[in-house]
């Protein structure tokens, strides 16, 4: 059955503090998420991710509990538009130490609260699809040009 929730995990061979930096510092967010980013790391602060070819996605930070929890709302894939509550999804990162490693869990919820009107919905869906496809391409390019790391999985 389809759920209104996405939950993914990865185990990283690095300290929780190190992973926290990667997830919350603009310099790093610009690498794993877009081409550049701004992060105002406080509740109500902005998280802004830019793609050179595509535009800018805006999110608003909800909660910061260093180094274990970080959440923000955004309109997934919506370009050049500030998030509003009724349109956004909530993205939550939870970092848990696991021996020398760190378990990173990301949960995205709220897809069923995307906009209601037919035209708006069609438009957002189009943007979503394009946005995700674009991000996947860019991420794959970014990941492929990284030096090969010893596997920590």
């Amino acid at each position: 059955m389809v759920e209104d929730r996405i939950e993914r995990e990865v185990v990283v061979a690095a300290s929780r503090e190190r992973v926290w930096e990667i997830i919350t510092q603009a310099e790093h967010v610009g690498k794993w998420f877009g081409d550049s980013a701004e992060v105002d790391l406080r509740p109500g602060g902005a998280i802004v991710v830019r793609w050179d070819k595509h535009g800018t996605v805006y999110g608003m930070i909800e909660k910061v509990d260093e180094p274990q929890y970080f959440s923000y709302r955004w309109n997934p894939g919506i370009i050049d538009e500030k998030p509003t509550n009724e349109k956004s999804t909530l993205v939550e990162f939870t970092l848990t130490p696991q021996g020398e490693q760190t378990r990173v869990r990301v949960v995205e919820t709220g897809f069923s609260r995307l906009p209601r009107s037919e035209s708006e919905r069609a438009e957002q869906f189009k943007d979503n699809s394009d946005g995700w496809a674009m991000q996947l391409r860019d991420l794959n390019e970014y990941v492929e040009q990284l030096p090969v790391q010893p596997s920590g999985r």
Binding site: V2, I6, A13, F111, P115, A122, S129, V143, L146, G152
Partner: protein, 108 residues
């Protein structure tokens, strides 16, 4: 992904209700059921079943067919599959981002 078929949120809203999921399950186990037949299988009134079927039909998850004097319902799997694919797509994007986070964090 077909941009003209932006009904993912309707499907998710329709599925958010546990009883609607049970109606859908019952209908896939017993295709071409009437609302009355479904009410006999589930612990709610026929009236409640009709309301749930209306939401499911608006989301494109079931279709109604008139058969003589009764209305029979059947599951339409296409939108369910499309929504599942879309959610899978979003999940795959997070997998890619988490992989990139992992590589960056493990980079000495």
């Amino acid at each position: 992904m077909n941009a003209r078929e932006g009904d993912v949120d309707d499907v998710l809203v329709a599925l958010a209700d546990p009883m609607r999921r049970r109606v859908l399950d019952a209908l896939s186990a017993h295709p071409q059921s009437t609302a009355t037949a479904l009410a006999e299988k589930l612990p709610v009134t026929r009236q409640a079943i009709v309301k749930h079927l209306t939401v499911l039909e608006q989301a494109g998850l079931v279709e109604a067919r008139k058969q003589g004097r009764e209305v029979q319902f059947a599951v339409r799997p296409e939108r369910l599959e499309r929504t599942a694919r879309w959610m899978h797509h979003v999940a795959a994007a997070w997998d890619d981002r988490l992989s990139a986070i992992k590589r960056l964090a493990e980079d000495p």
